[in-house]
Symmetry: C2
Subunit: 528 residues, 2 copies
């Protein structure tokens, strides 16, 4: 089954960088070719070459013309030979604690740095640094041993800010290619991980197809499948049903689980006085279970058992924030912070079993309350990576919540959040369609990249500066090719311009500031 | 000429609040009616009324069904009787310095507070406070005595953050209605002021039509018209040509002028080492003039004369940042800050002549460098209002620069910027079309409102909380009606839902967190 799912980026080629510790490692990057800068001094023509720009590439084999894609076979199992020599329970964190640098660790180190070394840009990100960060729990490499198709990536405050995208719907067998297409679409635009939130009958098979064909780590909320098994009756859930679901998904290759273990019976009432109650699906289900049974949740009670299962496969735990605020009014309240305290306790228990873990965060938070979220999370959760949904900084703009949330996301990313869960324009209104996914991903790439710039990630400015120079040089095509969304930039430009003009219709030739600015260089001589 | 330009907001009516000092003042507001919250306890039905929400309204008479619009006649001259009794040179700042509260001052005080008083929300914004802020230069009420059609509004850090929208194109006589339509369109979505950046032959007539029909203050960059008069040859500009242009526009009723007086001959070279030179049109023109003539600019040299003209009409001066950075690379550099120092000197000279003034700011600034802009501006410019363009926090997303800039705009608004100049998705690429204007305005309303929330503006949370409650109650229509863009919210919702369901297709009835959360209330009883 050869598909039309493959694509290429304009003026770009797929290149691979090799490891030093592990020469067999091949880290895929996108290299964008640029045209030279041409200037004139009187009649004399100066030509200055512009170096290609390397871009962190989440598209995997789909943008490599040399790799054949067959959805039925799945992607090449790149990590299989690395995994084969390992023993059960030897997670990335296990190795890191021994000071052993795995292939995954060197891979992510190379990946994070793009071509900084070649450009002489100093970087703190070495394989040894990655190892130390994973050992100390400040970073996570989600990498289920049963998902060898995925390309290693790292989530941690000292690395590039990552973004997660959600897909999910009930799929029919005939729609498998469609499901995979959605996943690839998200990877094309820059999604770093993918959460499959599918519900419905074909949940297992859909996930199987996604996992076998997805080049990025895949997360799930296992409660959704467990909830299906009890026909949507929260009170009928049991630890056994949940446990079996976990094992089933571990076996399939899910790389991280969102589990709402942080909800304690004694804290649920704290949400009673809220404006918008409990807005997390997993959180509301487990809260209902607790209240009906008047018991501590089995997720909390069996947390060590959950960790034992996850350790076996190196599945990371994303501690879900079941009591996150659903409105700016509810932000930073007692319910939210009580759960954060519990998550801080749980993350240490996960680490004790070498299970990688990160912490989910809000949600809806006005700007002046964002920083407190980050500071408390660092303090209470001992530096474990933070993974937030936005936050939305106002509630008055449904249909624009990708924007209300990108503002909060960029800020909290700058403050230290490691991964941002995207929000599409359809948030709160309807299920996102393909174009919504594209808009959501690009918007979150903006937030993540803005945070990288503000944090001073090595090499983060390369692309901005190359694009700005192209803009000032009127190298329009280079500007588009370097853009997060080359297609849309070109499309907008074409609404009123010819490509390659040395001005644009916004100002016209006479009013073009860049043109006048260029002319300043020689104007003292002219005026003599 | 009756037009189809009028409109109404859904479930809303135009209401007017009266003054206390000046009972003849009628401040238009939009009042949104809400449906009640209905809950069930077993069979018992509880009905809780939800108070209407008052929204700051920039749409003027266009949303009042009782006012007839005739573009040829122009809008009612609301302020004419207030102005008639005044003497030349009696600007808002002149009155404020005498401690005299004008009608405009009471008007904006009422406008800023919406219906806080009725709701018992404490507010610092009284007419006396407005008067003090204007007297001390911390706030500006742009109100040319020749533009009596405009509804007073205030720009200052202690007030609601405002947004400016730009329109402008060359118009033909037959296209007059179209030009006015663009202006009204921007006001409909919430634009607080409007800059007419038209160039071309019909510049005077286009402006006339806009001014006579525009309910918000209008700004211009007079240099553009002066530049046309010398056929685009910067070096041919003279003070006399510029002066005559100023007077012409004052007479027409322009409320504020962007003038790039801050460019000094000695500082222009500071832009030589930039990645993207000078990107302000006005800035590049006057820099060229300075360099060709090797003289201090006539804008700087004649600043006092400019102030004398502006004082006569109470036109505010917006000190244009001709050396603003055009890329994140150039942010906060010596050129930019040298100009800011000059603006600090000039603003005091303006105040000495009772001319209201504010300061323009960048542009392109990565997040970690935004705060310095605000702090320096406050320090160097003695608390004069700051008016920024974004700033864009990254340069890698052409076609999404409304978003890259909204992130910076929200942050700098929170830090104290008084007005944000909008950016549309077409920025850097093409002239915005109608839908781009809508997207740009709504995006900037988000940034401004997020800043209002973070600053704790009285009453800013009312709309957020009302919308959040509507969302949690499944009062879908109320949610849409309270949204910044009700039409788009409804349109998105309809892609997969029936209006008035007590769940939505995103989660379906079983997976709806809000529904489960609602059911928690009674579940302890149920479980007994």
């Amino acid at each position: 089954m050869e598909t039309k799912i493959k694509f290429s980026y304009p003026s770009s080629e797929k290149v691979y960088l090799s490891g030093k510790l592990y020469p067999e490692i091949k880290v895929g990057m996108r290299r964008v070719r640029l045209t030279p800068t041409v200037t004139f001094e009187g009649e004399k023509r100066h030509v200055e070459e512009n170096k290609p720009v390397y871009i962190y590439d989440t598209s995997g084999p789909y943008s490599d013309p040399n790799i054949e894609i067959d959805l039925k076979k799945g992607l090449p199992k790149m990590r299989q030979s690395w995994i084969d020599g390992r023993k059960e329970g030897q997670t990335q964190m296990y190795f890191a604690k021994q000071g052993i640098i795995t292939q995954e660790m060197e891979y992510v180190a190379i990946r994070e740095n793009m071509n900084c070394e070649e450009l002489g840009i100093k970087t703190h990100i070495t394989p040894a640094f990655v190892c130390k960060e994973v050992a100390e729990g400040r970073a996570v490499i989600p990498a289920n041993i049963k998902h060898p198709e995925s390309e290693p990536m790292i989530i941690g405050t000292n690395f590039l800010v990552k973004i997660n995208t959600n897909i999910g719907n009930s799929a029919t067998t005939s729609g498998i290619e469609e499901e995979v297409e959605k996943a690839v679409w998200s990877c094309k635009w820059g999604g770093d991980t993918l959460m499959d939130l599918s519900t419905g009958d074909d949940i297992h098979e859909t996930r199987e197809w996604i996992l076998r064909n997805c080049p990025v780590p895949v997360g799930t909320v296992p409660m959704y499948q467990a909830f299906e098994k009890v026909n949507g009756k929260a009170e009928d859930l049991t630890w056994e049903i949940f446990r079996d679901t976990l094992i089933e998904q571990c076996e399939q290759g899910v790389d991280y689980f969102t589990i709402h273990c942080g909800i304690r019976l004694k804290n649920i009432h704290l949400a009673d006085t809220r404006l918008t109650g409990i807005v997390s699906r997993g959180g509301s289900i487990i809260s209902k279970w607790c209240k009906v049974h008047q018991k501590e949740s089995f997720l909390y009670e069996h947390f060590d058992d959950i960790c034992d299962i996850c350790a076996k496969y190196d599945v990371a735990i994303s501690l879900g924030d079941g009591l996150r605020p659903g409105s700016t009014y509810d932000a930073n309240d007692a319910a939210q912070f009580a759960e954060l305290d519990t998550m801080g306790e749980l993350v240490e228990r996960a680490w004790a079993k070498n299970v990688q873990a990160f912490i989910e965060g809000p949600g809806h938070v006005p700007m002046h309350k964002i920083k407190e979220n980050m500071e408390r999370q660092i303090e209470k959760c001992h530096g474990a990576p933070f993974y937030t949904l936005g936050p939305l900084v106002t509630d008055i703009a449904p249909a624009y919540d990708h924007i209300t949330s990108a503002i909060g996301a960029a800020m909290i990313g700058w403050y230290g959040t490691a991964m941002l869960c995207y929000v599409t324009p359809k948030e709160h209104l309807a299920l996102p369609e393909k174009e919504d996914v594209r808009t959501g991903v690009v918007t979150y790439k903006i937030a993540a990249h803005a945070a990288d710039l503000a944090k001073g990630h090595p090499g983060a400015t390369i692309r901005d500066n190359a694009l700005s120079k192209a803009r000032y040089d009127f190298r329009w095509k280079d500007q588009f090719n370097l853009a997060l969304d080359p297609e849309r930039a070109l499309e907008y430009y074409k609404t009123s311009n010819e490509v390659d003009a040395n001005y644009c219709t916004m100002c016209g030739p006479n009013f073009c500031a860049a043109r006048i600015s260029h002319s300043l260089k020689n104007c003292q001589e002219e005026s003599k």
